[in-house]
Symmetry: C2
Subunit: 237 residues, 2 copies
Amino acid sequence: MSSSPAATDFGEFKKLALLSMEDICRDIYRENRDTIKIKKEHVAVKNLALIFDATLKLSARKGFQAMGLRDLCRETSLSMGALYSYFTGKDSLLDIILQQGRRIVKRMLEEAMSGNAGALEKLHAAVRTHLYLSEVLQGWFFFAFMETKNLGREEQKAAMASELYTEKVFSDILDEGAATGVFAAGDSAFTASLIKAMLQDWYLKRWKYRQRGVSVELYGDFIISAIEKIIMGTSKN
Amino acid sequence: MSSSPAATDFGEFKKLALLSMEDICRDIYRENRDTIKIKKEHVAVKNLALIFDATLKLSARKGFQAMGLRDLCRETSLSMGALYSYFTGKDSLLDIILQQGRRIVKRMLEEAMSGNAGALEKLHAAVRTHLYLSEVLQGWFFFAFMETKNLGREEQKAAMASELYTEKVFSDILDEGAATGVFAAGDSAFTASLIKAMLQDWYLKRWKYRQRGVSVELYGDFIISAIEKIIMGTSKN
DNA sequence: GTCTATAGTGCGATAGAC
DNA sequence: GTCTATCGCACTATAGAC
């Protein structure tokens, strides 16, 4: 289990990701030690995680702007004063959360992509990793999508770059597959956009799939089948 | 051209939709005459359109919550007092805009679907109409997507119903095509979700396609080709 | 029909006790 | 490390002049 790159089983994937989140919270604390007034690491890490979770939960209902810091106090059982020991202002809280999430996504995607040989194998690994990640971190993915437009121009560009980076991961795989003759040739950039759109629907409209009783693994089967029909131009049936 | 249900040419479609928007603004005024304090119809309709446009523009940048009514004053060149002659409060402004948009979408979709014979024809008409509509009313589609979650439970249910209704339009077409042997049999509800996701990407990520110089007509060609590969299980090339 | 001026409320942020 | 109390500000909404 020292390096388990692409877990196609969701249960296993979940464990990996949750472990990873502990590390990330610790990283965040260590990097922002100058602005975070709390000195005991175990207290700080515990409460940071609490604050992040509460923020995602409250923002999902009303949006980050509409969420008051007093709402956050109630949800975390911390006072205004205590909250301000963990961040310098509401805006910086937003930045930290987005930064944290992007780091997890990057780390997990890179781990997943390493050690897959063929284009088809890579495609499966990339789709399933992205999908399962968006399931484990559904709150964050939704939050990032909704709140990105309210950011400063710098952070906004970072988000756009992230979108295009992910898309390039997919279009590179498609190009490789076309070159080796595994996939039919086509507009790989456009197909990559379609793949992203399909992945996005899972975390933007999860209520719909939950209502229908569609599991994340089944959704993965579905879209992989659809993607293969698009890029192979032939039914697998 | 007395009734031109499915305009596959975007230029023509645009004219139809813009004409329709005038009507809608007038309808809105007449229906809300009790709450709108302005008595001269031509003044009211002109300023209502001004207010709606400004709201969509400002909300696109910071979100409806973060948009202050003073921002709206600046953008419309109206005073606070004047604004409050057109709606009873910020929340009702939100309701009116969403209501207005849903009405246009419903009207245009119904017109477009009438008078198409085969399943493939219907599919093309439905996809192109939805896509072109989301281009003409991009501001509204984006707004509706972003602000729906901030609404009361009633309005939220209306939005979910609208999502499922549109999806049923597509899954019905897919079922018909499967029954008549035009399409391969498959999970029509799931395929309809994929179609919706593809259509959604156009108005949620339009910056991306603009950056790449993809026109709305080209995007339509692309996704129709992809959809056909999924439902026919064979390449059209 | 539109304006300016202002009431009233709730926010983000901070100071200082414990 | 966490609390309570409070400041200053920006917001929505309204009243009344023109």
